[in-house]
């Protein structure tokens, strides 16, 4: 008797639950309608062509939202930075509105592959591996390695590193570069940037090498330290990226980059966003690429 009745209770309970569940589904339907409203009309390949973006009236651009001075949000809640300057110009010339998407280094490629954004403008370094998955535009910036050291024992060339200890962060280009090109230089490796800078500050190492943009910004904030070598090793370029095969949009961006050289656009963007961080000692031409020409 008890088994049967228990089952009946469960049924009773179950049917009331079903009603609640269908109510829940109705609620769910409401929210998925909202989702449909923001859905992107896409063609067979999934990405939106230049014409489709113009037609929709809104371009979706992925930028960094917490990586000053490239992409960040100011105290008024507005997107700012070197990448955002270029993005804003593209938006103006497209004649559309913009929807910003806050990206992180790791999800820039997935955002393009899943066609969640039209363009990524987030300090995106061009690599062969990435170029297999997304299409890069002409470059608008370049990055090399820099070496920062105390003014009292300034390292101005790699030769100055003889008999000294160079700090690097594991997994960075700097580590690979010095291991391959200058195996004689003694390296001291750290996992975190903060640890590496602390090691330089308290003298555990004689100099620190990583991307020149990074050490230039740090040296400006830390008196007594100077970037003695501001461009070393392979030149990495930074470019905009679109979904693989989105030629119309890529063509538009490339044409923009070429045309903007006439007004020295990227140098102006540098003066506005990067110069306050890097200071006046840095030659903008070590970082800025105008007209896509290296």
């Amino acid at each position: 008797m008890s088994t049967i009745s228990r089952r009946t209770f469960v049924k009773l309970f179950g049917s009331s639950v079903m009603t609640m569940a269908s109510l829940g589904m109705a609620g769910c339907g409401g929210s998925s309608e909202d989702a449909a409203a923001t859905d992107i009309a896409s063609d067979a390949e999934g990405f939106r062509t230049l014409d489709q973006i113009k037609e929709s009236g809104t371009v979706i651009i992925g930028v960094f939202s917490d990586k000053a001075p490239f992409g960040y949000v100011d105290d008024a809640g507005e997107y700012q930075g070197y990448d955002v300057e270029f993005a804003n110009r593209l938006v103006t010339d497209l004649g559309t509105q913009v929807e910003w998407v806050a990206t992180d280094p790791a999800n820039r490629v997935p955002f393009l592959e899943s066609n969640k954004v039209d363009i990524i403008l987030a300090n995106f370094t061009v690599t062969d591996e990435r170029a297999e998955k997304v299409d890069f535009s002409l470059p608008y910036m370049k990055v090399q390695l820099g070496v920062v050291s105390p003014d009292s024992a300034l390292v101005k060339s790699v030769d100055d590193l003889a008999g000294k200890t160079l700090i690097v962060v594991k997994g960075t280009t700097a580590e690979t570069f010095f291991e391959q090109e200058y195996p004689d230089v003694e390296l001291q490796k750290y996992d975190q940037y903060a640890d590496a800078y602390n090691a330089l500050l308290d003298g555990r190492g004689d100099a620190f090498s990583t991307d020149n943009t990074e050490v230039l910004a740090w040296a400006k904030e830390n008196p007594g330290f100077t970037v003695g070598i501001d461009a070393l090793g392979n030149e990495d370029t930074i470019a905009a990226a679109v979904a693989k095969g989105n030629d119309t949009l890529l063509g538009f961006i490339d044409d923009e980059i070429k045309a903007l050289a006439d007004e020295n656009f990227f140098h102006n963007a540098y003066d506005k966003t990067l110069a306050p961080v890097y200071g006046t000692d840095v030659d903008p031409d070590t970082l800025v690429v105008e007209g896509g020409a290296i």
Binding site: M1, S2, S5, R6, R7, T8, F9, V10, L12, F13, G14, V17, M18, M20, A21, L23, G24, G27, C28, S31, S32, D34, A35, T38, D39, I40, S42, G46, G62, S65, D66, K67, A68, Y72, V73, D74, D75, A76, G77, V101, A102, T103, D104, A106, N107, P110, F111, E113, S114, N115, K116, E221, V277
Partner: protein, 222 residues
């Protein structure tokens, strides 16, 4: 103090907007988890071998998968493979509902199974109908055992929504990071103050829930 930047510009307002996003994702997910979770719990107590295997597999799948992986699968994976283009917030709600329903289902199962058979039998002996037994004897007991762990589940969901920023959702922790980054040079101690503010905001939401859970538990063992 070094914390005055929190009062500048739209900082406070932006944090509150971010908190609103956090709460919206959490509350909608919880609201959807309740019917699905209860349904799942009730199905769990059915003596159907097949159903048990399926539900157990679902529960374990959700438990072993990191929420971040689920977010990536639903947000990016569904767009590339199924052509379903969810916004970041909708994808988040789907993932937290899948998770909440699985965990709540297990809690409901445990609560229903914890009611001893003698409770049913005693009710019949006293002449209560099936309906009366369920509503007046079984349900109140199951509910009082179910509520405290469920409220704890809600606080876990609220805290875990910070992962949503990794699929582009600008929730409260992401807003905090943007603020830290903006004031990085002018206020080197800004990170500490911003994180303290974030902690306070989470505390204001989770502490009352935790108190509620404690109070319910106290009432339960009375």
């Amino acid at each position: 103090m070094g914390a005055e930047f929190l009062l500048q510009g739209a900082t406070i307002k932006r944090l509150l907007v971010g908190l609103g996003v956090t709460l919206r994702i959490s509350l909608v997910s919880v609201a959807l988890s309740i019917p699905f979770g209860v349904l799942m719990g009730v199905l769990f107590t059915r003596k159907n071998r097949m159903l048990q295997v399926v539900l157990r597999a679902y529960l374990n799948f959700i438990r072993v998968m990191p929420q971040l992986v689920l977010l990536y699968v639903v947000f990016f994976g569904s767009a590339t493979t199924l052509g379903l283009n969810f916004s970041g917030e909708v994808a988040s709600i789907i993932v937290f509902t899948l998770w909440g329903a699985a965990e709540l289902g297990d809690l409901v199962r445990a609560a229903l199974e914890s009611i001893p058979r003698s409770q049913y039998d005693s009710s019949y002996v006293l002449g209560l109908t099936q309906r009366q037994t369920f509503l007046r004897v079984i349900l109140p007991q199951a509910l009082s055992r179910l509520l405290p762990p469920s409220v704890n589940l809600v606080t876990r969901i609220v805290k875990t929504t910070s992962l949503c920023m990794l699929i582009g959702v600008v929730e409260v922790v992401r807003v905090g990071q943007q603020i830290i980054d903006y004031y990085r040079f002018d206020y080197p101690q800004g990170a500490l103050w911003t994180y303290a503010t974030l902690a306070l905001l989470y505390f204001c939401i989770c502490w009352p829930l935790s108190m509620l859970s404690k109070w319910l538990e106290g009432r339960n063992t009375r």
